[in-house]
Amino acid sequence: MTEADTETAPGREASRPARPSWWTARRRDNLAGFLFAGPQLAGTLVFVLLPLGLMFWYSFHEWNVLAGGFRFTGAENYERLVQDPALPGVLGATAAFSVGLVALNLSLALVLAILLDQKLRGTILFRTIFFSPVAVTLVAWTIVWRFLLQDDGGINGLLSVVGAEGPNWLRGETTAMAAVIVVQVLKNVGLNMVLFLAALQGVPKELYEASTIDGAGAWTRFRRITMPMISPTILLTSIITVVGSLQVFAQIDVLTKGGPGTSTTVLVYYLYQNAFQFHDFGYGATLSVLLFAIVLVLTVIQWQMRRKWVVHED
C-alpha cells in the first residue's frame, strides 16, 4: 500500500479510520499507460484486428459486389479452395519467389555486410549506395526496372555492348520470375545489410583475438564465432524477409501482371485478381485466410527453430 492510499483529507478527524482513496497512484499510472497506448491500440483494433475478423467472416460468404448480394455459404469457399485447379500453380510460383528471394537476399546482404565491415576507404559510400534503394518508392523503382528489362531496354543494351544477346526478360517464364526476384532483392538488400552490419560490429573483438591465438583460420572464425554471435539477427531478418516475400504485389503488378502465362502469379496477386478484378470478395477473403495461415505457420516454425540455431536462446 502506498502513501497516497492512506492519505486522509485535511480537516478530517484523526480518530475516524482512513478510507482508501479510489484515485490511487497505481490507477493514475494505469490510466497514463492506457492513454499512451490508446491511440496505437485503437489503430490496431480498427485497422488490423477488425479487418482480420471481417476477413474470416467474409470467407464464409458469397459476396456479389455488383448485384449487392451477400449470402452465407458455410464452407463452400474452402471447398472451392481445395479444388481450385489454379491454386497449385499459384502456390508453386509463390514458393519459387519466396525461396529465391530469401536465399538471394540474405546471402547477398551478409556478404555485403562482411565486405563493408572492413576498415577500408570508401565503405561509407558503398553502404549509402546499397542502402539508398530502400528509401526509393517501390512503384517508381519497379517502373524504372520495367523499362530496363524490356527487350530493347537498358540491360540488353549493356549486354549488346559486350557482344551478348540478352533474352526478353519479362516474356520468358523463367527469366520473368528471376527478374522479379532480382529487382526485389536489389530494392531491399540494403536493409538486411545494415542489420547484419550492426550485428557484426556487436561481436566482441576479444573472441576473434582469442581464437586467432588458438590458431583458428578465417573460415573457422566465421563459422564458430561470427555466425553464432549474429544468429539472432539472422533469425530476425529471415522472418522479416519470408513474411515480406509472401506479400509481394506491386512488383508483380508493374512488371508482369502475373505472366507470362501464370508463371509469376503469386498468392497475393491471385487474391487481388479474385477480389478486385473478378469481383469475388468471398473467395478473395478465403485466399487471404490461406495466406494468413501460411505466414503464421512459417513464422511459428522459424520461431521454434530458434532454440536450435540461435545462440542466445535457451
Binding site: F34, V46, L50, A67, G153, G259, P260, F276
Partner: protein
C-alpha cells in the same frame, strides 16, 4: 480493470462513430457523384456546364460532383467503391464490363425514365449502339461514346520508305491488311521506325486484336457466348497472319518493345478517332482512314462507353433524372464534342466535326458515320475479367518466334471453355 474495458469499448465504437459522421441525411437537396475515366479538363468543363444548368432548375439537387478515376483499373476501382459502401450515383462503364453490369442487377433500368422524359426522342438511339447495354427490351446504360476504330497513317515515314500513302493505297484498291503489313515491314526495314502498332494491345490487351481478326470473320466466341471461337479456322488464319507480321516480316513491334505512333515512331496505328487530338502539333504528315480490308472484306469495330445509374447509389431516382437530362438531344450535341453519340440524327459530319477539327468531313463520314451501324463491338462477356485474364495467359505462348499457333489456340479454348459455360 474498468479503464481497459472502457478503452476497448471506445475503440470498438470508433468505427461506428466515424461511420455515423460520414453518413449524410436524406432530407433536403442531395449531392450526386459520377465516376469517369477522363480527367481531361475540357471534358470536365463540359460535364460541369451541363450539371450547373440542371442544378439551376432542380432545387432537389444541390451539387453534382465528377470524380475521375484512373483508366487503368477503372472497373476494379469502381467495384471496390461499391464494396466499400461508397458507390457513386452514376458511373461510366467500359464496354468489356457491360455484360457483367447489365446482367447482374447492378444498374437501374432506364427505358421508362428516358422514354418518359419530354423531348428525349428515345427512338433516335441507334439499335446497334444500344445492343450491348440492353437486356431484352430494357436499357441499363446509355452508350454516351460509340467510336469506331480506325487507322492513322504517318505519310512521311511511308514516303521515306518509298511506299505509297494510305490515301494512294485506298485509291488504287490496295487498302488491305496484306498490303499494309508489306508497307509496315518496308518502313521498319528502311527507316528503323516500327510498322504497325495496335494501340493498347501491348501483348496483354488482347481484345484490341478484334480490330484485326474481325477482318477474317473471326470472333472470340459465338454470338450467344457459349462456344470458344479462338480455334476456328478464321481465327487461326488471322492470328497466324499477325504472328508472321510480328516475327517474320517484323512489320509490328515484338513483345517488350514500345512504339508510339503519335511520337512519330510508327507508320500506322489502330485506335479510336478521339486520339486525333494528340496530332494537333504533329511534325509529320498524317491521315486517318478506315481499317484495312481483311480476307472477308471491309469491316468495322466499335469501342463504347456507357453511362449508368447504380442500383446501390445513394440517390438513384435523382441520378436517373439527371442522366435523362444529360443525354437529351440538346446535351447530346454537347457530349458529341468529344464522344460520338448514339443518336441517328446527330451522326453527321457537321456535329462530329465540332469535336474533331483536325479531321475532314470526308474522314468522319468514312471512318465514323458509315461504320457505326455495321460495326462489331469489341469482345465482351459475363465474367469478362476472368476471361480476360485466362485468354491473356493462354495467348502468351503465341508471342514467341516458333509458336505453334493452332496448338496454342486449342489450349486457349480448353482454358476458357469452362468459363464460357458458366
Amino acid at each position: 480493470m474498468r479503464h481497459p474495458r472502457l478503452l476497448l469499448a471506445a475503440a470498438l465504437a470508433a468505427p461506428l462513430v466515424l461511420a455515423a459522421c460520414g453518413g449524410g441525411s436524406d432530407d433536403g437537396p442531395v449531392t450526386l457523384r459520377m465516376t469517369t475515366w477522363s480527367a481531361n479538363e475540357d471534358h470536365l468543363a463540359m460535364l460541369n456546364e451541363i450539371a450547373d444548368a440542371y442544378i439551376a432548375d432542380h432545387p432537389d439537387v444541390e451539387a453534382i460532383e465528377f470524380d475521375p478515376l484512373p483508366f487503368d483499373g477503372y472497373t476494379s476501382t469502381l467495384t471496390t467503391q461499391i464494396a466499400g459502401d461508397n458507390a457513386p450515383d452514376l458511373a461510366w462503364i467500359l464496354e468489356n464490363a457491360a455484360p457483367d453490369f447489365v446482367t447482374s442487377g447492378a444498374l437501374v433500368p432506364l427505358s421508362e425514365t428516358l422514354s418518359g422524359t419530354d423531348g428525349y426522342e428515345y427512338d433516335d438511339l441507334v439499335p446497334a449502339a444500344t445492343e450491348l447495354w440492353r437486356e431484352g427490351d430494357e436499357l441499363y446504360a446509355y452508350p454516351f461514346s460509340t467510336s469506331p476504330f480506325a487507322m492513322f497513317a504517318n505519310d512521311d515515314l511511308l514516303a521515306e520508305a518509298g511506299q505509297p500513302t494510305a490515301a494512294e493505297l485506298i485509291e488504287s484498291g490496295e487498302w488491305n491488311w496484306d498490303r499494309v503489313v508489306e508497307a509496315g515491314a518496308a518502313v521498319h526495314a528502311q527507316t528503323g521506325a516500327d510498322g504497325i502498332v495496335i494501340r493498347d494491345f501491348d501483348y496483354t490487351g488482347w481484345d484490341n486484336l478484334s480490330t484485326l481478326w474481325t477482318g477474317w470473320g473471326a470472333s472470340a466466341w459465338s454470338a450467344d457466348g457459349t462456344e470458344c471461337g479462338f480455334d476456328d479456322p478464321e481465327m487461326t488464319e488471322a492470328l497466324t497472319f499477325m504472328h508472321d507480321a510480328v516475327f517474320e516480316q517484323e512489320a509490328m513491334p515484338g513483345p517488350g518493345t514500345t512504339a508510339d505512333f503519335f511520337a512519330g515512331e510508327a507508320a500506322f496505328t489502330v485506335t479510336q478517332i478521339s486520339r486525333a487530338g494528340l496530332l494537333a502539333e504533329a511534325p509529320f504528315a498524317w491521315d486517318l482512314v478506315p481499317l484495312p480490308a481483311g480476307p472477308s472484306g471491309e469491316y468495322a469495330v466499335i469501342g463504347q462507353g456507357g453511362l449508368g445509374v447504380l442500383t446501390v447509389a445513394p440517390h438513384p431516382e435523382e441520378a436517373a433524372d439527371f442522366l435523362a437530362y444529360m443525354t437529351n438531344p440538346e446535351n447530346s450535341v454537347k457530349l458529341a464534342q468529344f464522344f460520338p453519340p448514339p443518336r441517328a440524327s446527330q451522326l453527321t459530319a457537321e456535329v462530329l466535326g465540332q469535336a474533331n477539327p483536325l479531321l475532314s468531313a470526308e474522314q468522319l463520314q468514312a471512318v465514323v458515320i458509315d461504320r457505326i451501324d455495321s460495326g462489331v463491338v469489341k469482345p465482351s462477356h459475363t465474367g469478362q475479367a476472368q476471361l480476360d485474364q485466362a485468354v491473356r495467359a493462354a495467348l502468351d505462348p503465341l508471342w514467341t518466334p516458333g509458336a505453334d499457333v493452332e496448338a496454342v489456340l486449342a489450349d486457349l479454348c480448353a482454358a476458357i471453355d469452362p468459363l464460357l459455360a458458366r
